[in-house]
Symmetry: C2
Subunit: 216 residues, 2 copies
C-alpha cells in the first residue's frame, strides 16, 4: 500500500467528514429520531466521545451539515442554468437547463432528500440553512429568467417571476423524486414535462404584456 501516514490535520478532517457522512446517512435512513452522538459515531466507526473533538453538540453538527449541503448543491446547478438560459432560443440548451439540476439531484439522493425535508423544518438549524439556500437559488433563477427575456419591470412582475422560479424548482424536485422512486425511469421524459410546464408560463408572460397585473 502507498504511504498511509496522514498529517494530523488531514486525519482530523477525514474523521470529521466521516461523522458528517454518517449523520447524513442516518438522517436519510432512520430520520431525525436516529440522530444521537452514539449512533453517529458507531456508524462512523469512531468512539462516541470523539464526537466532541469535532462538534460542540448535535446542533453544531447539523449546522455544519447545512453549510456542507450549501457548498455542494448551489454552484453546479447555477452554472448549468446560466449557461443555457443565455441562449433560451435553443431547445437543446433549454432542455439542458432542466436536465442538469435534475441529474444533480438524482446523483446525490441523500443530500437532495435532506434538503427538501429540511425546508419544511422550522426547528433544526438544517431548516434555516435549507431555506436560506432556497432563497439564493430562487434569486438566481429569477436572474436567469430575466436574462431569458421575461418581464420584471413592475413589482408585480418581479414577484411573479419569483413564483415561477419557485414553481420550476418544485417541479424539478417532483420529477427527481419520481425518478428516484423508480416511477419515472426515463429522465428525458422528465425533462419533457418540465419543458412543457415551463412553456406555459413563458408564453403567458411574454404574451401578456405589462397591461394588467392579474385579472381577478
Amino acid at each position: 500500500m502507498p504511504d498511509v501516514t496522514l498529517s494530523r490535520r488531514e486525519a482530523k478532517d477525514l474523521t470529521r467528514r466521516r461523522l458528517l457522512a454518517a449523520a447524513l446517512r442516518i438522517l436519510d435512513t432512520e430520520g431525525e429520531g436516529g440522530l444521537s452522538t452514539g449512533n453517529v459515531c458507531r456508524s462512523a466507526g469512531i468512539a462516541q466521545s470523539t464526537f466532541y473533538v469535532h462538534f460542540r453538540n448535535m446542533q453544531d453538527l447539523l449546522e455544519a451539515l447545512g453549510e456542507e449541503a450549501s457548498r455542494h448543491v448551489g454552484p453546479v446547478i447555477r452554472e448549468a442554468r446560466r449557461r443555457s438560459s443565455a441562449a433560451p432560443h435553443s431547445a437543446d440548451r433549454l432542455r439542458d437547463a432542466f436536465r442538469v439540476p435534475l441529474e444533480k439531484m438524482c446523483g446525490h439522493p441523500e443530500f437532495f432528500r435532506l434538503n427538501v425535508r429540511a425546508r419544511f423544518d422550522r426547528a433544526t438549524p438544517l431548516g434555516e440553512a435549507a431555506r436560506r439556500r432556497a432563497a439564493v437559488t430562487r434569486a438566481q433563477l429569477v436572474e436567469d429568467l430575466v436574462a431569458a427575456g421575461l418581464p420584471s419591470g413592475t413589482p408585480e412582475e418581479a414577484l411573479r417571476l419569483e413564483m415561477v422560479a419557485d414553481g420550476v424548482t418544485a417541479l424539478t424536485e417532483a420529477m427527481a423524486i419520481g425518478h428516484l422512486e423508480g416511477r419515472y425511469p426515463d429522465l428525458e421524459q422528465c425533462v419533457d414535462v418540465l419543458v412543457e410546464f415551463f412553456a406555459g408560463v413563458r408564453t403567458q408572460l411574454l404574451g401578456d404584456r405589462p397591461a394588467s397585473g392579474s385579472g381577478g
Copy 2:
C-alpha cells in the same frame, strides 16, 4: 357552565385527540427530535404514563397521526378538483380546481408541512402513510385530467399524465409554502401562476397528438 359530565368513551377520545394534537404541534415546532412521550404528554397536559393507555409506543402514535392526516386532507381536495374538472372549459372552474387545494393547505399549516416533510422520510410510519396518500392523490388527479380530455391511451401517455399530476401537486405545494411564509400574500396570484403552468402542459398534450412519445 353546562353539563361537564363526559361519558368515559368521550373523555378517552378527547384525551387521545389531545395527544395527537400535541404531537402534531411538537413535530411542527420542534421537529422529530422533540418527540418523546414525556414531552407530548406535558404539552397535552396529562401524565406521562397515560400515554400508554392510548398508544403502545411512539411509533403507534405516529401511525395514528398518519391515518388522521389521510382522513383530513384527502376527500376535500378531491371533491373540489373533480367538481371543477368536469367543466374545464370554464376558466373560473379551473381556477377553483387550483384554489381550493391551495386554501386547504394554507388552512392547516401543521398538517400540510408534516405531510410534505413526511413524504421524504423513509424511516417513520408517517413517511409510508404520506407516500400512500400521495399515490392516491396522484391517481385521482390523473382521473380528473383524463376526464378533462387529456390523452391517456398509450402507456407513455398514461405515465405522462402521472408526471403532470405530480407536477401540479408540487406546484400547488410550492405556492402554499410561499404564501405561508408571507412571500406571496395574494392567493389569487398564486392561482394565476398555477393556471399558467398548467396551460403549458395542457396545450402541449392536446396539440401533440399520439404521433410520437417524445419528439424532443
